[in-house]
Amino acid sequence: MGDAEIIDLGSRRPGPGEGSEPQSGTRPTPGPSDPRPDQPNAGPLLGLSRLASLFGDGWNESVAAALAFARSRLRGDYEVDEFGFDPEFTTQVFLPLLRPLVRSWFRVELRGIENVPKSESALLVANHAGTMPLDGMVLQSAVYDEISRHVRMLGADLVFATPYSHDLARKTGTTLASQEDAERLLAAEQLVAVFPEGFKGLGKPFADRYQLQRFGRGGFVSAAVRAQVPIIPVSVVGSEEIYPLVARVPALARALGLPYFPITPMFPWLGPLGLVPLPSKWIIEFGEAIATDELPPGAADDPMVVFNVTDQVRETIQHTLYALLMQRRSAFF
């Protein structure tokens, strides 16, 4: 950030912060007799480009890439799949914005990523926590950086009924948590992630942290069984501490049409500052895949098989969570 002080854009005289110039070496000092009469209004841009030239040869390419992006957005000339997923926006805007949060703030550590297939479809089943669904975004970012695959999330109705949330969710590859969409994604060889606890997991009090809630109706299991794709249990540690939920104010939540109204030690007392998640240390462990292609035909419609597999996935995640918590020294380091 100190670089921003180097160039005095107004006068283009060497400012007091020119300390980095000797290291860069190649840049000629702009004299006061450098008026460039052909570009009278180019001051800020030119200054910016000089600043950028300090960063080396990559500059021209990155300008070209940024403008190619701007052009395709301007023309509406970018791909969107049937779910509304916009890979260009996701890889060039959304994931780069998330990266500092994932790498530096939460310092996410992935374990067992080799259990996630590189190209075939699979269903990731994870615990859901943290008041706000940041865990989905963190999972998406971390997996993409590791194996360059987009995780396609399944989200609740409320995500799609809320302005902006609808837009962002669809653009970044989330679709409705329904049997039909899950099967459609799995048939298209995608990596699908589901949080079967839903709002029960997301909005549980801090006192119940890392206690798995009920796993829906097992719809995700029948989707995986029908598509004959492996289920990969994913245990996320660290998500519970980002916004410790101390109260839920049911009356206010009902009035606002929300599943709960979160009260944390910081929110709403500190206003927007209360939205900054606490910098907990995250560990995401991908368990061994649970195969579904060996089940007898018709298993997807056999509730007993579905319940058994659901329980198996749930137990695996719960045990992994306890094991990870035992190893963890503190929530923040």
Partner: protein, 342 residues
């Protein structure tokens, strides 16, 4: 086999094009029916001016010895005097009269009805694509969606009572193309397009050429059942607006019905609440079942259909042609500065 096909709504673009194409087929004669005189070239179609809302239609079917009925006389938006009441009358009462006439006519052996994707409604709880056997998550309660649902239920009633008639219902996606006039087309032609804030609807479109081709296949191949017809891909509302170069202003979801009412009174474009839902949440159909049944594939993608429409309209103030020189200037400034100094 000599066939006599009755096409309703023949004075409008889709009806005229289908009638013309069918009449050119060997051994097929086409009778076109509409309340207004035809404004398009009808070719070899014999035109009968009749209103399907009264029993005269039964006489037309009997005297021409019609064996196939193609029903296209449905109205997707209130136009002209009478507004919504007249629209409902045409859609529902008109269809009932026509079906009553078909049930009486023993010669009729095939019925093809144009329905619409609006039967699926639109809601945040919708799956990515609707297949024909899915129920709507939010049942359409107003406007064209409700009419389409009622039309389909009457048509299914006829199919039950006359099992010897092959009944095909085609649920067409929103029509889009150079000569289309629809609420969506008028909406995208507004100088500044009001868009629901925070939502980006997925639009599935159908070019009239493909609509005619699909109706033609359904008429000639006799595939009983209900089928979705549309382009395979989607465009989002944002993409559509960028391609058109039209500036959009965000309107909160709760104010959208008021604005739609104002636009309707100004005679610009009008939307019923179920169409606002469609422009908010979007709706996409799975079109594979019609492809499996008939081999039909839309030649125009949604994007191509939109481009066909845009090529025939003046570009908007934010079109790529106008903004690209600006980007070129930015690029030159940014890179030349770096080159000169580095």
């Amino acid at each position: 086999m000599a066939r006599v096909v009755l096409v309703t709504g023949v004075s409008r673009q889709l009806g005229a094009r289908l009638g013309r194409t069918l009449a050119d087929v060997e051994g097929v004669s086409v009778v076109g029916v509409d309340v207004t005189p035809p404004s398009h070239d009808l070719g070899r179609v014999s035109f009968v001016r009749a209103d399907i809302r009264n029993p005269v239609i039964a006489k037309v079917i009997a005297t021409h010895q019609v064996d196939t009925v193609v029903h296209l006389a449905t109205v997707s938006a209130p136009t002209g005097p009478g507004g919504r009441t007249a629209m409902k009358e045409t859609n529902v009462i008109g269809t009932m009269q026509l079906l009553a006439a078909c049930q009486q006519a023993e010669l009729v052996s095939q019925l093809v009805v144009q329905s619409s994707a609006s039967v699926y409604g639109a809601s945040p709880g919708d799956p990515a694509r609707f297949t024909e056997d899915m129920e709507p998550r939010a049942h359409p309660r107003t406007g064209f969606g409700k009419d389409s649902v009622e039309i389909e239920s009457y048509v299914r009633g006829l199919a039950r009572r006359r099992p010897d008639v092959a009944v095909t219902i085609l649920r067409l996606a929103s029509l889009m193309g150079a000569e289309v006039d629809s609420p969506l087309v008028r909406y995208l032609s507004l100088p500044v397009v009001p868009k629901v804030l925070g939502f980006d609807a997925r639009l599935q479109l159908l070019h009239p050429t493909d609509a005619v081709a699909a109706l033609l296949r359904a008429t000639r191949q006799e595939v009983p059942g209900t089928f979705n017809v549309g382009a395979a891909d989607i465009v989002t509302m944002t993409q559509a607006l960028r391609m058109a170069g039209r500036p959009a202003i965000g309107v909160p979801r709760s104010l959208a019905p008021v604005l739609a009412g104002t636009l309707r009174q100004a005679g610009l474009t009008g939307f019923s609440p179920d169409q606002i839902d469609e422009l908010t949440y979007g709706r996409v159909m799975d079109v594979s079942s019609f492809t499996r049944a008939t081999g039909f594939r839309a030649r125009f993608s949604s994007r191509a259909a939109l481009q066909d429409f845009l090529a025939a309209t003046p570009p908007g103030p934010l079109s790529a042609e106008r903004l690209e020189p600006l980007l070129d200037v930015v690029e030159r400034r940014l890179t030349s500065g770096a080159r000169a100094d580095g």
